[in-house]
């Protein structure tokens, strides 16, 4: 039975490093589901550097649009780290601007996490703590990200809020 763990946090809150450390408490092999895309040389360099930092016990799947399908198809029972939900939502809206369809994909991701044979650790940004954005698309994205976080938090066995590299247990 899969365990679903959600790491929430603001920008540079340390959420990815904490989530990765958590994944490394489970035995290898480990899979990193990456939503970042190597759209330019700088980004490609960052991605390669992060892969190097994770070390040889990790394999990386680049799944900017279909991490839900990739997770559903994944064999094995090693820990899976999905980084990150909010970037994926942003990628999805770039292909199809309907937030309802994006939210349906989040539900599919939660289902795939439940059905996977090992622990699934999902990283997501908290983006609702500031002033109302002037930009309508930013407001829509903020609502979508908040709804997606609520959905996954409801499904998750554990939810952790990262603040300044420290963990605050929410569930």
């Amino acid at each position: 039975m899969a365990e679903l763990i959600l790491y929430l946090g603001g920008a540079k809150s340390g959420k990815t490093a904490l989530a990765q450390a958590r994944a490394e408490t489970f035995p290898a092999p480990r899979v990193y589901l990456a939503t970042a895309q190597a759209l330019d040389d700088e980004m490609a360099g960052r991605i390669r550097r992060h892969q190097g930092e994770r070390g040889p016990d990790w394999s990386t799947l680049e799944v900017p649009l279909d991490p839900d399908l990739a997770l559903a198809a994944l064999p094995g029972s090693g820990p899976v780290l999905f980084d990150c939900l909010t970037l994926w939502l942003s990628n999805l809206l770039g292909e199809d601007p309907d937030p309802e369809r994006a939210l349906a994909r989040v539900r599919r991701l939660a289902r795939a996490a439940r059905q996977y044979g090992g622990p699934v650790i999902i990283v997501s940004n908290e983006v609702g703590g500031g002033i109302v954005p002037e930009n309508a698309l930013a407001r829509q994205f903020r609502d979508l990200a908040g709804s997606a976080n609520q959905r996954l938090a409801a499904e998750a066995d554990q939810v952790v809020l990262a603040v300044a590299g420290l963990e605050l247990k929410l569930k």
Copy 2:
């Protein structure tokens, strides 16, 4: 003796749903003090839909400007849900741009909550967690909302921070 309970949270943090569930732990009848205004058809539709979702045990008072006066005049001892403080502050500033006078109204609201015969549950946005806004009015609003939240949190018997639909008890 009235009980004052404050639900804080960012956008789409689940604060209203949690506050409503909390209000429903107290016996009916229940009063919803609404600060949202039906300024257009879309908003009117949303307001009607939310009213329907709350069900027949709730009555709704639309008080975009005077929830403090409405609460002070309210008979009975059923739970009152005030949703939400930050939208009210925004409505007040639309009528009178002086933040000091808006803050005086917040103090009056706290007093009315204390004097009411039953539990009062107030929902408010956390808006101070982002980068400093470039817009001066946004900065002023952010300061006002933060001061109002501090004021009510100091008066409240319980304060809950909503994160991704989960409750974090602050007081």
Copy 3:
């Protein structure tokens, strides 16, 4: 052996008042390391007013650029309140736009705090909780502030998150 205590919080979260109250649990004399600069009359008035509110047990050092050096040179063992880290980072970037050099100064501040003969209480803003800023400099500042907060939180003996004037203990 110095004690390092970090107070984090959003705008108007009450973090400075809580940090000051904490400093006042340690015996006088107390030193306030101020990063705000009296660049105009309004700011000069605010600074004088805050100094008055802190009372005669406090002395104030205005160190907009060099609180790390000031702290390293400070004799005595009374409590030191440094307010605030994020404004200091902003002052530093105004002199030298390289975030890596600013982060090196943060490490030097942490070292000075460790070597000081009494408790050091540092106030800092949480700025990563909103939507991604459109402005590239704002994004860079947000990343720097988050990295600096993580660095100090890792070094600190205690870390407190201020929300609506209430304390949430993170460490």
